[in-house]
């Protein structure tokens, strides 16, 4: 082992666990020391194996340093925790009188401070969490409820360890509890991940336990990352109120209970959430570390740089009175530094969990500000839009204001820049599984696949996009689509009694497109659409007919061609005459039969004369879309052709509504004509085989 001076002055680097310069004569008992200096996952594993096999955790090298000294001086939180679990004493001094605690730095120092203050029970929690996250293979470790944990007795622990390691696959409550907690935070982490583009971590729950998977691109040393991450999981469990944090900043010491929860609180929460923002603090941190190491050798902390860097971490905390003088005595001035809310470093006056949480919040505060501004913009644009369009049903802006705290909201960034976060995504996230499914159903994404942690976000996003589509057109997405009889577009018009201007102009444009697309060379002109209505609903007063009654009375929307306009009626007549089965199976014929049996003539209204087949199909399909298939006796929804295939549902039903509105006016002009069984032509093709005279059904009836 290199002399201690060397340890403290060497910049933090990976100490190879392989033979160093003094290799051959290296005594066996120092293996743990070498491992302790290395910050890789494997070394933690190796150390653990050694300790399980009975290696002395408090072994000293020739300088009197324990492995914990090395772990602390190299800021190996994971290793330090492991060693502490196995009973390493942070207060044992080496030959120069330095204790592990005194030479600890960074996260390790922070951890040790908390460790020192915490009760035995709380320490158990540390270890439990540590092992729950750091379960190697299928083994996991449960610290038994030792009466005396303070410095954990190696023997007692080894015993406990051996029990649980030797296939002590007993899922004790404590383990379950830890696992549950961690799992509970997954969602939070996963969500936060969508922000961190690099997506560096993935926590995988396996049957054996919890494994953290690191992407190779991670720059930081693995073991530390490992530990940090595992801690961050528990960190996210308890995010103190912002008010609490401020209070704690004012107070010199917080309640011990609070401190314990965020074991090994590190920057990770912030790192995970805002990798970009994290960059600066990281460099900062590193710089401070290297300077600190120098300072150990040359303890004259005069440079302002020193104070600038480490003050945040050390402020407000004196080293323990027992700590030997070698430890850098930092920062008296530090406490006084003014706190600006923008820098993430600010409120680290206390170098423990709440401080970091504050940093997390402050980092987020900018987001919040941004979000609020965006929201304002959004509301403005919306109100401008709605006033311009005079649409009565405005998108609900109230929702956006009700969510005051802007949580991490990534979806807003992901979706198109024009759409802004208005709290909808949060609303969606709060939905329970069934609710989300029924919401999706409203938008025709049905039935949604299984919703689990992996798929749910996707469905959430999809729902959001669908909702935004609707909101952008001035409809309220919260209108209960399922219970609505017709499509929301038609419902809107029915409610208003007229076509909103923007609505009409959009539909008119569609109409123009359809007209130009499906006419001219190559297209026929002998098709049309027709509506068959229920006379009982329609009534006979055509003058005062409202759109609503009209729509409700329609039970069939058809597309016909000129040479067989009455096909269905003739079918029905024939079926009736011959008593065939079709009357029972075919809904529309059944209805016709029913009405005829009751003695009604059936009103039939032709629209869109003289168009091509395709156009008639499109028009028919649009009307069906507007009225909705379930309200009709049609067997299937219509077909769309050409570019209309790419229309979305809203466009389709808008166009359909528009056509219905026009159909009503033509109906008013032309009057109702009723078809009875008797006045039908014999032939299915009255105009082609005109021998018998085409007339019957075509003779207009005067409106009553």
């Amino acid at each position: 082992m290199p002399p201690n001076g060397a340890i403290t002055t060497t910049p933090r680097s990976r100490m190879p666990p392989t033979t160093p310069s003094s290799g051959k004569s290296r005594p066996k008992k120092e293996t743990l020391h070498y491992l302790a200096a290395s910050s890789s996952t494997t070394s933690v594993d190796a150390a653990r194996t050694l300790l399980e096999r009975g290696a002395n955790v408090n072994a000293i090298d020739r300088d009197g340093a324990t492995p914990l000294h090395y772990a602390c001086t190299h800021d190996n939180v994971a290793m330090a925790q492991l060693l502490l679990t196995f009973g390493a004493d942070p207060m044992s001094a080496d030959k120069l009188g330095r204790t592990a605690y005194s030479i600890a730095k960074g996260n390790t120092l922070r951890f040790l401070r908390r460790y020192k203050k915490s009760s035995n029970r709380q320490r158990l929690g540390f270890f439990r969490r540590f092992f729950a996250c750091h379960s190697r293979n299928e083994t996991f470790f449960i610290v038994r409820n030792n009466q005396e944990v303070a410095p954990l007795r190696p023997t007692a622990l080894a015993e406990a360890a051996s029990i649980s390691f030797n296939r002590g696959n007993v899922l004790t409550n404590s383990y379950r509890c830890a696992k549950k907690k961690i799992r509970a935070t997954f969602h939070a982490i996963r969500r936060s991940r969508s922000n961190s583009t690099a997506t560096l971590q993935d926590v995988v729950l396996t049957s054996e336990g919890i494994r953290t998977v690191t992407t190779p691109s991670r720059r930081a040393p693995k073991a530390t990352v490992y530990a940090k991450r595992s801690m961050s999981v528990s960190d996210l469990l308890l995010i103190p109120d912002r008010r609490d944090i401020k209070n704690e900043d004012v107070k010199t010491r917080g309640s011990p209970v609070k401190k314990t929860r965020g074991t090994g609180r590190s920057r990770t929460p912030e790192a995970i959430l805002n990798p970009r923002k994290q960059r600066t603090p990281v460099n900062h941190h590193k710089r401070s570390k290297s300077q600190e190491t120098k300072l150990v050798a040359m303890p004259s902390p005069n440079s302002m740089a020193y104070y600038n860097t480490s003050r945040a971490r050390n402020a407000g905390l004196r080293p323990a009175p027992s700590a030997p003088p070698l430890s850098p005595e930092p920062a008296i001035a530090a406490v006084k530094t003014p706190k600006t809310p923008t820098t993430p470093k600010t409120s680290k006056g206390r170098s423990k969990s709440p401080a970091n949480t504050t940093a997390y919040f402050t980092a987020d505060e900018s987001l919040e500000l941004l979000g609020n501004n965006m929201e304002k913009l959004n509301i403005e644009s919306k109100s401008a839009k709605s006033s311009k369009l005079k649409t009565p049903s405005k998108p609900t802006t109230s929702s956006s204001t009700s969510f005051s705290s802007a949580e991490d909201d990534k979806e807003a960034e992901v979706s198109t820049p024009t759409t802004v976060d208005d709290g909808e995504i949060r609303k969606i996230r709060r939905l329970r599984e069934g609710e989300l499914k029924s919401e999706l159903k409203k938008f025709g994404i049905s039935p949604a696949g299984p919703l689990d942690a992996r798929t749910r976000r996707l469905y959430e996003k999809k729902l959001l996009i669908e909702r935004r589509k609707i909101t952008n057109r001035g409809y309220s997405p919260d209108a209960d689509v399922v219970s609505c009889r017709n499509s929301p577009q038609l419902e809107l018009v029915l409610r208003n009694g007229f076509l909103p201007a923007d609505f009409a102009s959009r539909a008119r444009k569609c109409d123009e497109n359809v007209r130009s697309e499906f006419s001219g060379n190559g297209f026929g002109y002998n098709a049309f659409c027709y509506l068959i209505m229920d006379p009982r609903i329609l009534g006979s007063n055509v003058e005062n007919l409202t759109l609503e009654t009209f729509v409700r009375s329609i039970f069939y929307v058809g597309k016909g061609s000129k040479n067989r306009p009455l096909a269905h009626f003739i079918d029905a007549r024939n079926e009736r005459r011959d008593k065939l089965d079709k009357l029972k199976t075919c809904e529309k014929l059944k209805t016709i039969d029913e009405l005829w049996t009751l003695g009604f003539g059936i009103p039939r209204h032709e629209i869109s004369h003289g168009v091509s087949d395709e156009e008639a199909f499109v028009r028919e399909a649009s009307i069906i879309e507007a009225v909705k298939l379930k309200n009709l006796r049609n067997k299937k929804a219509g077909e769309f052709h050409g570019t209309t295939k790419s229309w979305d549902n809203i466009t389709k039903s808008e166009y359909g509504t528009f056509l219905l509105d026009r159909a009503l006016s033509t109906l008013k002009l032309e009057g109702i004509r009723l078809i009875t069984e008797d006045n039908l032509p014999d032939s299915l093709y009255p105009y082609v085989n005109n021998r018998r005279g085409a007339g019957g059904g075509r003779t207009p009836k005067t409106p009553k």
Binding site: D202, T215, I445, A448, G449, R454, T455, L458, Y459, K462
Partner: protein, 89 residues
């Protein structure tokens, strides 16, 4: 649209125990990312595809999020799995 050799090879036979990189559109880089995410075998990815009800948008979106796959590659992968499903299911 003509399909790649990889696509045809994948679609041509049961996927068995193939690696995830055997799926068209998933190269070594995306393969590593997906493996890290736990999707090491083609059938695991196929499972995700089924889990999303063969929905193209959702699957592509998922691939983008999980492994940063570009839209184009994701679409290729989707087509590959979709065609496999058509053939063998």
């Amino acid at each position: 649209m003509s399909t790649s050799v990889k696509h045809r090879e994948f679609v041509g036979e049961p996927m068995g125990d193939k690696e995830v990189t055997c799926i068209a559109g998933i190269g070594p880089t995306y393969g590593t990312k997906l493996t890290d995410a736990g999707f090491d075998k083609a059938y695991v990815l196929f499972g995700q595809y089924l889990l999303l009800k063969k929905d193209e948008d959702l699957f592509i979106e998922w691939l983008k999020e999980t492994a940063g796959v570009t839209a184009n590659h994701a679409k290729t992968a989707f087509n590959c799995l979709n065609e496999w499903a058509d053939q063998f299911m």
